[in-house]
Amino acid sequence: MVGNPTSVADVAAGLRSVGYLPGESTALVSFLAAKLGKPVLVEGPAGVGKTELAKALAKYLGRELVRLQCYEGLDEAKALYEWNYRKQLLRIQAESGEAGWDAVQDDIFGEQFLLARPLLTAISSQAPVVLLIDEIDKTDQEFEAMLLELLSDFQITIPELGRIEARTHPVVLLTSNNSRELTEALKRRCLYLWLDYPDLEHELEIVRMHSPDLPETVARKLVEVVSLVRELDLKKPPSIAESIDWARALLLLGAGSIDQAVFRQTMSVIVKHRTDMDTVAERVGVRLEPARAA
C-alpha cells in the first residue's frame, strides 16, 4: 500500500509502521494532503513532532524528502534557483569569437547552467517528493509572497527559461512555530493542522514505542511528570523528543522509579534553562517521593 493510501486508517497505520504515532487529525490531514495535493500548514509549539511528521510521511510514502530550512533573510537565490555564472563565463570564453551571439545567448541560459535550490529540486524531480518548508514564520513576508506561485500551481517562473511546471505532485508541508502571524494569502492555499502536546495516554504510547524496555510504571510516571512540568510557565517547556530522551536516560541509569534524587540528577534532560530548572525543582521535584535510602 506504500505510496498510495486509500483511507485515513491506511495513513494512520502507515505512519505507525515507520515509528510515528499520529493523532486522529494528523492522519486525516496527511491523507487529505496526499489525495488533494494541497500543501499543509502545520502549526504548534516547538517540539511536538512537526518536522518528524514530514520525515515519517516521506518514509511511509517512499518518497525523497527535500527540506528547506527557513531563516531571516532567506532569498530566492538560496531557496529557488540561481544561475551558475561561473560556468556561464567559462562557456562564453570557450566559444569567444567563433559562435554567433544568438547561439551563445541561447546556450548559456540552458538548464545545465541552472543551480537548483530546494524548491526547484522539489518541483523538477522525476519521482514525487515530500517537500518540507521548515519554520516558515522565520522568513520575511516578502518570501512568503514568493512562495504563493509555487504552492498554488506548483510552478516556478524563471524569466530566461519560462515557466517550469512540476513533473510530479509533491506533498508539501510548511511548519510554523507561530512566532508571527502568516499572511492570509498563504493560509488560504493550505490545509491547516494544529499539533499540540499529546495527551497523557498518547505520549505514553510514544515513549513506550521509542524505548520499549522501560518498565511501564516508570514510563507512566515519566509522562505524568512531563505534563506537570509543561503546565508551569517555563521559558521552554519540554518537547516530546525530550521526553523520549529522558526515557532513554532513565533506561541507561537503570532507574526503577522516578524519585526526588533521580529527578534531580536527570532533570537537565527535559529542562534547559537555569531559571526554569529552579522553578521545576521547586514546584514538581518536591511532589515526588523522597529518595529511598540505598
Binding site: V8, E24, S25, L28, K38, L41, E72, R180
Partner: protein
Amino acid sequence: MLSDPLDFDGALVAFAADLRAEGVTVGTSELLDAFSALELVSWGSVTEFRETLAATIAKSPDDRRLFALVFDRFFFREAELQAVRLEVSEPQVRVGDGGELDLDDLRRQIARALEKGSDSDLRDLARLAIAAFGKGQGSGVLGVDVQRIRRALGLRTEPQPELAPDDPRHDGIPRDQLRRFEQALRRELERAQIERNQALPPKRALSDLDRALPGGPVQDLAAVHRVVAQLRRRLATQGHELRGHTRHAHVDVRATMRASLGTGGVPVELRYRPRRPRRPELFVLCDVSTSVTSASAFFLSILHALHDVFRKQRSFVFIERISEVTDVFRRERDFRAAAAAVSRDAGVADVSGYTDYGRVWSEFLDEIEDELHPRATVIVLGDARTNGRPPREDLFAAITQRAGRTFWLNPEPKLYWNYGDSVIAAYAQHCEAFECWRTDQLEDFVRALTRPRVT
C-alpha cells in the same frame, strides 16, 4: 435556512455564512477545498467530518475554537430542523412507570460516566437526569434549568468528604467534565423545547463568554482585534516606506557577474543588493494603572500587534515604575495569554497604584539611554495623569531628543486634556500627541507612524 431538505451543499454554504458572521474569514477557495476534501473521507464518523472541515476552513488556533462552537450550534440546529420537518421525535424517557428509578444510584452513575463516559453515554444520562429532576417545572430559561439539575445531582467542583471514597464526587469533579455535562444537559433541554414547539428558537450569536478561552478574561475584544488585525496588515505593507535613504549600497557580485555576460564578462553595469525594507526600532511604554483600566486591553492589543510586525521592539509597562515585558509578548502568541501573563508576572511595581511619570522617565532613561538613537521610535500609551506628582518634562524631553520620533497616545478625549492632574500639554510640546480611544483614531496614528520620515 435550507430550501431543499436534501441540499447538503447549501447547508455547507450556510455553515460558512454562519462562521463569517462570527468573524472567521472563510474564502470561496477554502469552501471549494472543503467540498473536494469531503469527497475523500467517510462521513460515518463525526470527528472525521469535523476535522476535515476544520483543516480546510479554520486556519488558526483562534479560528479553530470558534469553528468548534459554530459547528456544534449549526449542525445541532440543522438536525433538529430536519427532525421537526420529518416529524421524528426522541423516545420519551419515563420515570416511575416501570419501577422507581433510584435517584441516588443515578447521581452516582452520572458522576462515574463523567470520568470516562463517551458522548453518547453522557447524552443518555443527561436525558435521564432531565426526566428525573427537570420534570414539569421548567423555568423557561435553559441556563437556570441546567444549573438546577446540576445542583440536584450534587455535582460540584468542591470535594464532598461526606460521600463514599469510591464516589468520584468525593474529591470534587474537574471543571471541564462539569462543563461537558452541562453542555449535554443544555442540548437535551433545547431539543425537548424544539420538539414541544415544533420550531427552532431564534439563533443566538456566540456570546463573549463562549468565545473567551476557559478561564480567560471576559471582555469584548473582538472589535479591537478586528482593527488591530487591519493595523497589522497595513503596517506589514506600509513598512516598506520606512526604509532609510541609504547612500551606501552593497554591490551584489553574483548579479553583477550575471549582468556582465551581456558584455562578454566585462562588468560594465554594477548591480546592487536589493534594499531590504528597514523597520524602525520601537520602544513602547504602556500605562497599566487604574486610571486607564478601560483602555488597557486596547493598549495591550496594540502592543501585541506591533510585536508581530516589528522584530526590534522593546515593550515596557508601567504604573509607578517600569517593567519590561518584551519577552512575554515574544513568547506568547495568543493575546489573552499575553495579557494574563503581563498582569500576573510582569512584576509591575505597584505600590500605590498611582502613576508616577517622573520616576518612569528616569528609570526608562537609566535602562536604555545608550540604546536610544535617531532611528528609534518611542511610543507612549498613557493618560498623562500624574496624580499631583512632578511631571519631569525635562527628562521626557531628554528622551525625545535622543530618539528619532516620539508619539503619545492618550486614551482620553481631547476635551479632558489638561484638566485636573492631566499634564499632557507639558509633554505634547516634545512629541506628537494623539487622542486615541476609538479605532478610527488609531488609524490616524498608524498613518503617522508609517509616514516616510522627513530628514
